[in-house]
Symmetry: C2
Subunit: 459 residues, 2 copies
Amino acid sequence: MNKMLLYLILLLIHHTALGQEASKVPLPSPAQLAWQDAELVAVFHYDLHVFDGKIYNQSQNRINPIADHNIFKPEALDTDQWIRAVKDMGAKIAILTATHETGFALYQSDVNPYSLKAVNWKGGKGDIVRDFVSSCRKYGIKPGIYIGIRWNAFYGIHDFKVQGEGEFSKNRQEHYNRICEGMVEELCSRYGDLAIVWFDGGAHGPEQGGPDVLSIFEKYQPNGLFYHNLQRADIRWGGSETGTVPYPCWGTYNAPSWFARRGDDIGFKPLKYGFPDGQYYMPAMSDAPLRGYDGGHEWFWEPDDEKHIYPLENLMEMYYKSVGRNSTLILGLTPDPRGLLPEADVKRLQEWGEEIDRRFSQPIARTSGKGKQLILSLEQPQSINHLIIEEDIAQGERVRKFVVEGKDDDKWLTLYEGSSIGHKHIARFATQKVSEVKLSVEEAVMEPVIQNLAVTYIE
Amino acid sequence: MNKMLLYLILLLIHHTALGQEASKVPLPSPAQLAWQDAELVAVFHYDLHVFDGKIYNQSQNRINPIADHNIFKPEALDTDQWIRAVKDMGAKIAILTATHETGFALYQSDVNPYSLKAVNWKGGKGDIVRDFVSSCRKYGIKPGIYIGIRWNAFYGIHDFKVQGEGEFSKNRQEHYNRICEGMVEELCSRYGDLAIVWFDGGAHGPEQGGPDVLSIFEKYQPNGLFYHNLQRADIRWGGSETGTVPYPCWGTYNAPSWFARRGDDIGFKPLKYGFPDGQYYMPAMSDAPLRGYDGGHEWFWEPDDEKHIYPLENLMEMYYKSVGRNSTLILGLTPDPRGLLPEADVKRLQEWGEEIDRRFSQPIARTSGKGKQLILSLEQPQSINHLIIEEDIAQGERVRKFVVEGKDDDKWLTLYEGSSIGHKHIARFATQKVSEVKLSVEEAVMEPVIQNLAVTYIE
């Protein structure tokens, strides 16, 4: 009950001008906290064209309906296998494309006829969203759902708009908007609490001639992340699909939705860096497909594409430049036509999870504390080359500038200087033997609350 | 075997220039013969909007998708009840709209997702086409299927064309054409022999940017009637939806498809009258909805519409002006949201069937014969006021002009003068007491073959 009370107070503070003055920095919602705590998220892309045996061409896929939807028959579908791989990788949230750009829905939709009801697979009774969510719950992974409404090759939707002119087009736009709202209601109401509902490419709202999906989300998923429309974006895109963000990457933004001011006119820099004094809590995510190596960039399974699976070292670099920079890393995974995550991908995710664990699960020393200075004493002088610093972001991102020094014998040496910490900052530096480590916060908006200061040595 | 041989010979004659010279008049195919022998045909219109509780507005229905396809739930559906009414009415062929202008398919389509698979009714397993065909076979009625591809409010098809411009529209047109071909293949291959496959508003062909449905029909339904595209129309529209044609209504036409030369540029007169010297056998049909009385014209069920059911006498007039003029009468029947033909409609059809039977099943006298003159002798002088004359149209429509006289005592009186006979001609005239009736063919292309000359008296 005390925790609940604290949440309510925090929410109150977060949502009132008085509160914002009181806290001086915006505070995350419980969903945003859970999102950042997850650190790693998997997003599964699965759609009709996985089964067509061809190289995926997104721009063509958007304007060319799949000839025969009965190619969809994942005979060995096993979402448990998918989610075990998520678990192995160390992610805490997994997202599935309930619909993507073909318009085909991976569940039993009552409003969109172009769904698993239409195919012969499982006698038209398949529900991969349900399978997926069940597997997530079984393995303690939080499920999220991705909904594509911006493109629909089947129905004839291009960049939110029904093709055509005149009254017919207007009527079909209305119809499509109702289908979208209906799907959002189905997906938000049938499968329990969702960590996130992700509208890819955003969701048009009624003021743009689109459906009203936000109010439906708010009704059924008050505890979830909404991503995103012009009014609301609980997270922001980090400005690339490289799985990385630059440094510093502030967890706050200067508008309630980054989507209202997109890269088209202002460039992606605001998305990448955020605004340290932004009034809105909106951490950046870093997304990339696992099959993004060496010229590849495959959100969907394609034949003979194992060569594009990132090597372990690249994934670790990605980890440093996302999770280590206050950004949640979203990795795109690609089930194949059998309905399984391919063995090579599973193996790489295992290796990666083990490597993250090997590097960070047992630091040499760690501490926590409040205030402008924090000392971490080692039991004996040791070589270190990594720092892990975490603010208690439930209380907001407060640090603006810091320096970390190490004591070598009696001399304090500067190990690292930084600005943003936020949920987590991982710093690498030249190996140094130290007996003590001192974090000095040089600038902060309020009293710094460091929930973790750790050092380690990684070969 | 002799009959089969005869058919083959007739077909050969029909399809060769030599044969046409030999016979001088075009001959009907077996399917056309069966069609004309049926005399009465029922066409059932059933679609999503039957369930919307609103007055049907065809032009709106074409450009306004149905908001929720799950309104479709005919809880008491009983196609046996439909077909018993067809039987009662005396029709021999019954046609069902497998798809109409919403685009919704009343069966388990693998190619069109907008079908009974999409609705919750019967767990998405309903197949009304199958039910319908089974009921037809059970009651000895020949089934036909109506396919609408010219309009599709769901998919965005207007007058055959996908809405929109550019490559996306071109791709969706291709996709839609493949859906149409797929549906035609499903409907022509799954349900056994069909009396007719009816493309309402015609079918665009590949040369017009449409699907190639004719070759699919010809592959699977070599014994059926094809209605219709630019290349082929085995019957012709009679030029109105009043259930009547004018007189004379010749069974032949001057082109292989009337659809290639439509009313738009030449008016409907050629459709109504036909061409006595036309090289193509193509009898006219007369279509009308049962609910077409007093300003009504309802091909679909609507609430509170019983007032538009034609009175018996109007149906009899329609019968005289269609069946009695060498034209097959197609009556539109409207199952309701329960899935039943309404009681009032059933009752009227029963009355009508009984009345046709009462009037024509037991003529006072009848005969048949070849040649320019045919005498029908009555057992005793009797009052008559109806003539029924039928050519053996398996041998072509040969008569061009005739007169019928009646012998009153020793005097021959002209009872009736006419031109076309064809499958059947029913003539009404002032009551006359006669002892003999004489049919004199004044003009004919070949030797007249009269398979029935009957007289009767109807109060």
